[in-house]
């Protein structure tokens, strides 16, 4: 055999080989570089002889043919046709430790004999290279014609491979299983027994097609598939890191649901999320879409470096974009040129330049107001807000007020009423909890010892020698032992006095009015005599106020009519019902027999100000007057906007007018910009078509988005189609759906992937049409039963000779229970909700989280609406493998653990739904255990019970009824009032356990 074949012979040989490839399914005669050789070289050689120039050894590149065969600079490694003359061959077969490749220091396995044989043959055949398959243009493939009749091209591709190795596809799944499968896949809910029956009995040929169209048109489709997209968008309801404060991103979630429901074409879906704000005449919806990249974390911890976390978020935007659309791990190039894929460090930072000018910098940044329902075209309407008074009217009121106030204060000032306060004699001093006490101070004040409860109630008995008491004065006094030296026991020295009451002989005495020298905004003194434990008097100071909180203060309580004590004592009660440990710390009580006048130290100052012409008043005086005026005239108060939880401030993307400069960061460290390498302008990956035209103006995110969905970009459609496929079969056609680079796995059905990708583009990037195409295939509709011959021949089911049983995602496990129980509330969108969760979830978080558990219908919303705190996720999510949303998640794991068993069996959420299902059974099947069991299985599994199941459940329930009849109090504990009203306790409780058993069966949380 000649060492080098004449060019013509080689050319003919390759044409011949290609011909075979095209006409037979096997074509295994000639070595295929991409499938057989590249993975070997990539794994063992490219780390040191690949794209990364900094790590390259001996100046040798093996990832490019012209380098390997010596046509470019650097040493020659391969002589095409002649393995024995190729240094590469010598090195990889050498046993000399100084020569052998890969060297021991690389810690890579040596080539096996089989691998060596492949490499040898490949060199013999001419050492031809191919570009990496994923970067090559989409192939124009036609569905192969196969012996088996198929109507759907997908089946032609799949069957061709099966035929080639002599495997038959599986028979179709039975109709009930198919309906449950497609309903779960498209909507994430269970089919109702009526839907199952209708479908099973539907004789029409298009019965299944109509079901698919019904499901695709239902709003639950957007919720189901929206959730998959939200994983990639790393959507959550809090900002992450240590503080992890809540934020309003739910309108973005609703935008995704709505976009999918109206089947917004995927190219437009892409453009709006990455650059909706940059579109000409952008609509509000398009701007909302850009919240996609505002799902990055914000570190609100004190002392955080703003720039550090801005860069962190910007890099996350690059990495997420790379993973979601390109299926590439561009993040590897943050610190160095990618070791395996053609992404240089420079290109990484050119990509980063697209995102580097965003206005937000580890803060809320630009945000827009979005109302609940607005995304869906029906914004919630709220009661009209009070409109401010017209200016003239306000001026008139003000002038009138100034006049009357001036007169009143002047009159008071000239006719002073002297109030003489007498100290009281204290009797028994008690606290409600009986555990705290008081130390009497030399000045007749009382210092509370802070040993009682956090909402302690003080009961102070007192007596006086005065014959009558017209008013009681409460003086709050500072003390060094109190926090911040303040009169109160709160950390800042404050307190909240929720109620002040006076009793004589157990008779509550009416207090006519109260006034204080100082009031905290929102905590005025009248709140202490309104009998409402949720309002009170406190002494913190508002912004801009010159008053001091931690100083002595006083309040006067004027009785409706003077008390005639006749030697009786009176009891003053101080209640602190509002905040925990906001108690009065030191105080004294005095009494007077004259009715005191409400006169505050401020009044003198106010009068002085009122007596000046407006122009001469100081800033402080003007502020004091305005405050007094607003207090007297509610209509003059500025209209205060209460935060409305149904109106979100949605964070969106916006670039700052002056772009930031972008440099390569040495080793990815933002403090080390590589200024020598120069300022970078925005750019895309050169290895991925199409090339961007030369920029005439700075490139923007819009250019990037359009490049991603350019018809010549082969990655976006392949990656997207592959992920959609993965949801239906548990595995993508490219198994490493997150890595389409050279380290990823090659596609199992390359032609099918490319055909679907083209079809996706051809059908106007319609996701619904793609779903329809897939679920209508026979491949999708096959039975998922394992078959012995498949287990032997294709254990991983790569060739798709059957469907795959898949455990439901975290959200869908609960959604399934919600739909079976009949309690599901199908409302679409809106602020996130708080279903019950166990206590103690926040024991490990730095900042305690608010979790106002829903008590109404919101308790039964679909699980994707559950509020998600990144630092303390709802436990169900963590247990069932929902991601933590710290970064993009393109594929969830499916674990199978004891903690899942504990959750399904014992979580109050599921118990409540089991009770719901039990009640449903009691109502829908008034008599007969058999009927109830049949119905329950139908509701939970969407199919009739098997004989074994019926027997098992019957035995279980019967035994349980007998057991509970002997122990009725145990049965009672499992019941709700509604259930108790419906059935005898033993029977009802056993039905709850029947429902619980079904929820815990593998079948329930598995889509078959």
């Amino acid at each position: 055999m000649s060492v080098v074949a004449p060019p013509l012979v080689r050319w003919m040989a390759s044409v011949f080989a290609l011909g075979i490839l095209a006409t037979t399914a096997l074509g295994a005669d000639r070595i295929r570089f991409n499938e057989q050789i590249r993975p070997l070289l990539s794994d063992r050689c490219f780390a040191c002889h690949g794209p990364d120039g900094k790590r390259r050894e001996a100046d040798l590149r093996l990832d490019l043919r012209d380098h390997a065969v010596g046509d470019a600079d650097g040493p020659l490694a391969i002589v095409p046709g002649s393995p024995d003359k190729s240094p590469l061959w010598e090195r990889i077969t050498s046993t000399d430790p100084d020569l052998q490749m890969p060297p021991a220091s690389a810690k890579k396995p040596k080539f096996t004999p089989a691998e060596l044989a492949l490499i040898r043959r490949w060199i013999e055949e001419g050492a031809e290279y191919e570009g990496h398959w994923a970067f090559l243009p989409l192939k124009s493939t036609v569905p192969p014609s196969v012996a088996l009749p198929t109507r759907n091209p997908i089946d032609a591709f799949v069957r061709a491979k099966l035929v080639a190795i002599g495997l038959a596809p599986s028979p179709p799944a039975d109709r009930a299983t198919l309906l449950r499968r497609v309903t779960l896949d498209l909507t994430g809910l269970l089919p109702s027994p009526e839907e199952v029956l209708a479908f099973v009995q539907d004789p029409h040929e298009d019965a299944y097609e109509r079901v698919v169209d019904r499901l695709l048109a239902s709003p639950q489709y957007g919720e189901r598939w929206g959730r998959h997209w939200l994983d990639q968008a790393r959507y959550a309801d809090s900002s992450g890191y240590a503080i992890d404060a809540p934020r309003d991103m739910w309108p973005y979630r609703d935008w995704v649901i709505d976009a999918l429901n109206r089947d917004l074409p995927f190219d437009q879906f892409t453009i709006e999320q990455l650059a909706g704000d940059l579109l000409p005449n952008a609509t509000k919806s398009q701007v909302m879409a850009t919240a996609f990249h505002r799902n990055t974390l914000i570190n609100q911890e004190g002392g955080s470096d703003r720039e550090q976390f801005r860069v962190e978020a910007t890099m996350d935007r690059v990495n997420t974009t790379g993973a979601v659309w390109l299926g590439l791990t561009v993040g590897c190039a943050q610190c160095h040129t990618h070791k395996f894929d053609p992404i240089t460090q420079r290109e990484y930072y050119e990509l980063l330049a697209f995102f580097n000018s965003a206005q937000d910098a580890n803060d809320r940044g630009p945000a827009i107001e979005v109302r609940r329902g607005e995304v869906f075209g029906n914004p919630e309407v709220f009661p009209a807000e009070p409109t401010p008074l017209p200016k003239e009217e306000l001026a008139r009121l003000r002038a009138a007020w100034e006049q009357t106030t001036r007169e009143r204060l002047a009159a008071v000032a000239t006719t002073p009423v002297m109030t003489v306060w007498s100290p009281v004699k204290y009797g028994t001093l008690q606290t409600e909890s009986k555990s705290g006490g008081f130390q009497r101070q030399d000045d007749n004040s009382l210092l509370y010892d802070r040993r009682g409860s956090g909402n302690e109630r003080f009961l102070i008995e007192l007596s006086t020698e005065l014959p009558t008491v017209a008013a009681v004065r409460l003086r709050l006094l500072t003390h060094d032992d109190l926090p911040k030296g303040g009169p109160g026991t709160a950390g800042n020295g404050n307190f909240v006095l929720t109620d002040f009451t006076i009793r004589v002989s157990d008779q509550k005495q009416m207090i006519a009015r109260a006034f204080a020298d100082h009031e905290q905004p929102g905590f005025p003194i009248p709140s202490a005599i309104d009998g409402d434990a949720t309002t009170g008097w406190a002494i913190n100071v508002g912004p801009g106020s010159t008053a001091r909180m931690n100083a002595n203060h006083e309040a006067t309580f004027v009785l409706a009519k003077p008390l005639l004590l006749n030697g009786r004592s009176m009891t003053v009660e101080l209640a602190h019902g509002l905040n925990k440990n906001y108690l009065i710390g030191r105080f004294a009580l005095d009494v007077t027999s004259t009715v005191p006048d409400e006169r505050k130290p401020d009044d003198q100052a106010l009068l002085a100000a009122l007596q000046k012409p407006d122009a001469q008043r100081t800033k402080e005086e003007l502020a004091a007057l305005q405050a007094a005026f607003e207090k007297a005239e509610p209509r003059a108060r500025p209209v205060k906007k209460e935060p409305n939880p149904h109106i979100a401030q949605l964070m969106v993307m916006r670039d700052q007018p002056e772009p930031r400069e972008t440099y390569i960061f040495t080793r990815g460290d933002f403090t080390r910009p590589d200024k020598d390498a120069g300022k970078l302008s925005a750019g895309v990956l050169s290895a991925v078509a199409p090339a961007l035209p030369d920029a005439t103006s700075p490139r923007t995110r819009l250019d990037l988005a359009r490049w991603l969905v350019h018809p010549d970009n082969p990655l976006t459609p392949r990656v997207t189609v592959n992920r959609i496929w993965m949801r239906y079969f548990g595995r993508g056609l490219v198994e490493t759906e997150e890595d389409f680079g050279t380290q990823g796995t090659p596609p199992s059905h390359h032609e099918l992937l490319d055909w679907l990708s083209r079809e996706f583009q051809r059908q106007g990037w319609s996701q619904k049409r793609l779903h329809r195409l897939i679920v209508l295939s026979e491949t999708y509709q096959q039975s998922s039963r394992e078959r012995p011959e498949l287990t032997e021949r294709d254990p991983r089911n790569l060739l798709l000779a059957r469907q795959q049983r898949l455990r439901l995602e975290a959200e869908i496990t609960r959604d399934a229970a919600l739909s079976a129980s009949g309690l599901l509330n199908v409302v679409l969108g809106g602020p996130s909700v708080f279903p019950p969760q166990p206590d103690g979830v926040y024991a490990f978080t730095q900042v305690n989280k608010s979790w106002p558990t829903e008590t109404g219908p919101q308790r039964f919303r679909r699980t994707l609406y559950t509020f998600y705190y990144r630092s303390a996720p709802y436990p169900l999510f963590t247990t069932f493998d929902a991601p933590d949303f710290q970064a993009t998640c393109t594929r969830r794991l499916r674990s199978n653990t004891p903690l899942q068993a504990l959750t399904m069996a014992n979580d109050v959420v599921f118990l409540e739904l089991a009770q719901g299902l039990a009640l449903r059974l009691a109502i829908e099947c008034p008599d007969g255990l058999d009927r109830r069991i049949a119905r329950a299985v139908m509701l939970c599994f969407g199919r009739p019970a098997t004989k074994v199941e019926t027997q098992v459940l019957n035995d279980y329930v019967t035994a349980q009824v007998a057991d509970f009849t002997k122990d009725p109090s145990a049965a009672e504990k499992l019941l709700t009032p509604a259930l108790r009203a419906k059935l005898p306790a033993a029977e009802a409780a056993s039905l709850v356990l029947l429902a619980r058993t079904l929820f815990n069966a593998d079948n329930f949380i598995t889509r078959e």
């Binding site: 810690k107 039963r785 287990t791 990144r870 247990t879 199978n896 069996a905 079904l998």
Partner: protein
């Protein structure tokens, strides 16, 4: 799941089905993977991910107790006596020491702050300890003192992540997850990686500190709760006795067996196993938490007060957990963040937190030693960073976060006992010898557990990730 794992699972199933027909034999699953040849660094059986595994290299430590001092304890008040710093108190730090440094809160005008605590050297290793650590004196010669620890990150959340996962942003697996990924766990009825917490609040960073990141969630730390049931949803609904629950589990299993007969999906067998383990866990977890089995002497040596959640109680639980085969126990205690503000001063507040941990940390070491467990149990004590030699002026004078030098100690599990590694300059700014970076610490800890830190990897998104990122050297000087 990585392709490798999928392959393994499928191979497992094939073997399982081939050998055992369609019967139920969970024990047979255990041995399947041991004899499969593979180039993989770790072979796990996803059907039972926590099966115990032998590490590839010889291991000195079989399990880990990590006492995490959240907030960053001040080495200068505890382990580092710096007379020169005391002399220079009130003076500006030398500019050469500050150039290029970043701090969380310091404004640049702060002055040096010497400690006011009395120090004395103890034990054969003559380790200087502050008067605040009377109980630590008992263990000076059992401990390996690392005084030249350095880290890269100076905010709490990122620094804790860095100390736990080798990376400052969330999303990577924690050390405990890597350890259980590599080794599985001997505990059959308890999680392999348990987290306990004490102090006024949770550590900054929350669940991401014990997250399994991209590793399967089976390797995630399971936080035991301080009150009520230690594991979420451990308790059956009211009214259900153990007998009733047995009946319930039997019914569920019977349904699952029937489904297995219909579909032949081996995942169902895994679920049957999981339910049985859950049922056992309901009995074993309360038994674990029942400290009445401990002698009064033991309880008082740790300083456990009955019924009161505390670091001391958690230390004792840590011992009970590892006795039951749990691979990795991590305790978090807050709040060591001594900036000088309210609740965080270097006086009474600091004394309280030291007091919280001093006795029980020492008691744990002595107890493990006495029970013969210390030799193959690795104990780690330390925070995410140290405190600055400069004072930080808040309500009182405290110290800011310091990344360049701090102290952490190790004990048992193959580290030298009574050994001091590393010294810092006279002001305590940085190590002059024996510097140990977080990555080096991780490399060393993995080495003690029987792993080459460069080989314990997991491939995700095209890259082989490891605890030490692309760094780390084993600190051989501290190995026995």
């Amino acid at each position: 799941m990585s392709p490798l794992e999928i392959t393994l699972r499928d191979q497992t199933r094939r073997h399982f089905l081939g050998r055992c027909g369609l019967g139920l034999g969970s024990i047979a699953l255990q041995s399947l993977l041991q004899d499969e040849g593979s180039a993989a660094p770790v072979r796990i059986d996803p059907a039972n991910a926590m099966l115990p595994r032998q590490p590839p290299l010889s291991a000195k430590a079989k399990r880990v107790i990590y006492l995490f001092m959240a907030g960053g304890p001040s080495q200068l008040e505890l382990f580092e006596d710096k007379p020169r710093l005391r002399e220079l108190t009130g003076q500006a730090p030398p500019p050469s020491l500050l150039s290029g440094k970043r701090f969380a809160f310091l404004k640049g005008t702060e002055t040096l702050l010497g400690n006011t605590r009395k120090f004395e050297s103890y034990g054969e290793c003559r380790m200087p300890l502050s008067e605040l650590l009377p109980y630590h004196r008992q263990i000076v010669d059992d401990v390996c003192w690392l005084r030249g620890m350095t880290t890269d990150v100076f905010n709490h959340g990122p620094a804790k992540l860095f100390m736990n996962t080798g990376f400052q942003a969330p999303g990577r697996p924690s050390f405990g997850s890597w350890a259980t990924y590599g080794l599985g766990s001997e505990a059959r009825d308890l999680p392999g990686f348990v987290v306990l917490q004490s102090g006024p609040r949770g550590p900054r960073g929350g669940a991401s500190l014990w997250s399994s990141g991209f590793l399967p969630t089976a390797f995630q730390g399971v936080p035991f709760r301080g009150q009520g049931d230690p594991i979420l949803h451990l308790r059956s609904p009211d009214g259900l006795t153990r007998d009733r629950e047995r009946r319930f589990h039997d019914a569920v299993t019977a349904l699952n067996r029937d489904r297995f007969a219909q579909t032949h999906d081996p995942e169902i067998l895994t679920r049957i196993n999981a339910y049985e383990t859950a049922f056992q866990m309901q009995a074993s977890a309360p038994e674990l938490m029942d400290l009445s089995q401990e002698t009064a002497e033991t309880l008082s040596s740790y300083g456990v007060e009955s019924g009161k959640p505390s670091f001391a109680r958690n230390c004792l639980l840590a011992r009970r957990l590892i006795e039951r085969g749990v691979r990795f126990v991590q305790l978090y205690h807050t709040n060591w963040d001594s900036h000088g503000g309210p609740g965080e001063n270097l006086n009474a507040d600091f004394e309280k937190v030291v007091h919280d941990v001093d006795q029980s940390s020492a008691a744990l070491i002595l107890d493990l030693k006495q029970r013969g467990l210390l030799d193959d149990t690795l104990v780690i004590w330390g925070g995410e960073f140290g405190r600055t030699p400069m004072g930080e002026v808040r309500a009182t004078i405290g110290r800011d976060h310091h990344v360049d030098a701090f102290t952490l100690w190790l004990a048992g599990g193959g580290v030298k006992a009574g050994h001091i590694h590393g010294t810092t300059d006279e002001l305590g700014f940085g190590p002059v010898e024996g510097k140990v970076h977080v990555h080096d610490l991780h490399a060393t800890l993995l080495h003690l557990l029987g792993f080459d830190h460069e080989q314990l990897t997991y491939r995700i998104q095209g890259r082989d990730y490891r605890l030490t990122d692309v760094h780390g050297h084993v600190v051989s000087e501290i190995l026995k």
